[in-house]
Symmetry: C2
Subunit: 399 residues, 2 copies
């Protein structure tokens, strides 16, 4: 911890004051602004070379170097501060060499704020064909054209560095749910070896401008999660990602494991829960002290016509909305809600118009951004427990 | 012709002056601002209840109550002043009754500028199944669910009035290309009878706020076109649409027939060439004195990755653009060109991302709007002939 004079701060209403910052790497820091008294929830700031992320923060997923249907302008308008894009997919198309030659991911995508890349591990273990895993790495066939590829821990770091990501992740083995204890343990041991090699390889690059988070695996087994935390934390990463959750297990188990794992992680580093999730799961995980989230839910649901309100989800194609002149959500400040009725969006979905997918996605992203902003405000105002109880009571699975 | 004091005018740089306006209906007028000396090209203004249209003007096609992939905000940013939407499609989904209950097309779509509707004739004769045409009207099965429908001239006027369109069209029979003289003549005679009934039915509504254009049919036969003009013009519509061109005939024949037909039409009413077209065809038709155009080309091409530059069309998926860091068109002021490279748009198309369709469509519409604005400026500055020669010389079919 160091005292640090910060000229400007990305939180509305605060003044330049001397603050307690944790310098996690180079000039990049993590600062905890407020720690909730009634839960592990906290607000903070992660500073990267491309700007600050207010936490708890939700990262939309930009699988193929775009958040599906949305422009960077739309994301900015929605309040998005960071998104996550995909090492596996971008390696296959268009390739990290192409993106590097074109000036890196930020220039390629027209986005100058923070970008996070995953390790590609999840995709290699869920999407790729003819997988052959050894301690050396993983050989697989591209799901696009069957082309043989090989990911080693070193290669995955090289790809992410070449892409120009702000926060990168080491290659990990993500075991499916359910997995036996011994299978999960084997996967974990490989993940731990790979983490060490990744860290060592990345250190040689002397890239103080890029942060690397360690990934905690261990499936649903608490003993394995505990070992994972001890070993990964001993390698001293800039933050810690909880992986291998939300891979098919019941929602209670997601919360149970992420709660347990989060409680073991150091409090002075960002905690990231990968692939989560629904608004309710996010609210619960924030109470466990999670700072970062990513999930395809708001965008994928947007494209299929499931939209969010504080009362729950709406299937907009429903006949009930045929002559409904109200916006998706009363009071929502997004472009969709300010200009279009449920009836119009329903019409667009029922006639297969892309504009419907765009407008619904835009609303869903804004819904998630408002959710995170409200949580940050509730934590800062010391009313998070009340706020989250009310939110969960009102939010039905479907309305 | 009346002298009319107009407090403000939608053309940049002009001052409030007494001007010669042709009041075509109620408070709606057509004004010719400048008539070219070397061609029949002219600039003008069509004023409707929902605002002014600067002519020559291009109308993007909003088949199903949206210009595919684009928001009203995007259209405004591109300089779109009016679009055309589809009587046949909107009757089937969601139905004119639904749109009326929701406040009409303008409210439904979030667009407060002029809207034109076609008669549905073209779709009934090209898309619908099991067609049965009598003088009374046309019975057909919906191409969506086979539901039996009947369009009479009166019904089509009712639908368009209910939708709340600014400029409507009478039901017409659009014969395919090629058609025999006798078949084309039969279709034309029916169109003429229907036009008379449409005019009479619409008059009873006393809707001075809605303009109706007559449609000139007659296939590629000049004698039929001449008869059509005489009969339709004798009914005194607010403007005249040239229909039944660009239905498969060679491009020279499109220009030949539209040129011939336009020359017969009164000069004090707007002339609209339906379904045209490519940038070159539009430039040539403007020289014939056409004021309004509509075509799916910029939007359909946008969705399949064909984009426009002044040097010609580009198939953006091409391997040549893999590492091309330049915008689609150097100097273009659209959002796409200001923020993204050809390489990025190519990547989006090659990975099937909707955002690519959106960005390419956005550029193409802006390209068309710049084309029309440049033509208006060239006509007003008395350099249209030079301008059009240069444009056509530079514009290759493909680059």
């Amino acid at each position: 911890m160091v005292e640090y004079e910060l000229p400007k701060l990305g939180v509305a209403g605060s003044n330049p004051v001397a603050r307690s910052l944790i310098l996690i790497k180079g000039e990049n820091f993590f600062e905890i602004l407020h720690q909730d008294n009634e839960s592990n929830a906290r607000t903070g700031i992660i500073k990267t070379k491309n700007g600050e992320i207010e936490t708890p923060s939700f990262m939309p997923v930009a699988t193929l170097a775009n958040v599906k249907t949305q422009t960077p302008k739309d994301l900015i308008n929605a309040g998005v501060q960071v998104f996550i894009t995909n090492t596996y997919h971008l390696h296959l198309r268009p390739g990290e060499d192409v993106i590097r030659k074109l000036g890196g991911l930020h220039k390629f995508m027209g986005w100058n704020k923070p970008i996070v890349t995953d390790s590609g591990g999840f995709q290699v273990f869920s999407l790729a064909q003819l997988r052959k895993v050894t301690d050396e790495g993983v050989e697989f066939s591209s799901h696009i054209d069957g082309r043989k590829e090989f990911f080693s821990p070193e290669k995955v770091i090289d790809i992410q560095t070449e892409l120009g990501s702000n926060i990168i992740h080491p290659l990990d083995e993500c075991v499916p749910y359910p997995s036996s204890h011994s299978y999960a343990e084997e996967g974990l041991n490989r993940t731990l070896k790979w983490a060490k090699r990744s860290k060592s390889h990345f250190s040689k690059k002397e890239r103080d401008d890029i942060l690397m988070f360690g990934i905690i695996q261990g499936s649903t087994y608490k003993d394995l999660r505990k070992i994972a935390v001890e070993k990964i934390v001993s390698l001293d990463f800039s933050g810690y990602a909880i992986g291998g959750v939300a891979v098919g297990e019941p929602t209670d188990e997601i919360i149970e494991i992420s709660n347990f794992t989060a409680s073991l992680l150091p409090s002075d580093k960002p905690r990231y829960l990968m692939g989560v999730g629904s608004p309710e799961d996010i609210v619960k995980a924030v109470a466990s002290g999670i700072d970062l989230f990513d999930c395809v839910i708001p965008t994928r649901n947007g494209r299929t016509g499931t939209v969010y309100t504080k009362s729950g989800k709406i299937i907009i194609k429903g006949n009930a909305y045929k002559e409904d002149n109200s916006p998706i959500e009363e009071g929502c400040d997004c472009y969709t809600c300010k200009h279009f009725s449920r009836a119009y969006i329903r019409h667009l979905f029922n006639t297969g118009e892309i504009l419907g997918q765009y407008l619904a996605t835009l609303h869903n992203i804004r819904f998630y951004m408002r959710l995170m902003a409200e949580m940050r405000e509730a934590i800062n105002n010391r009313i998070f427990k009340d706020w989250s109880d009310t939110f969960i009571k009102n939010f039905k699975q479907e309305v």
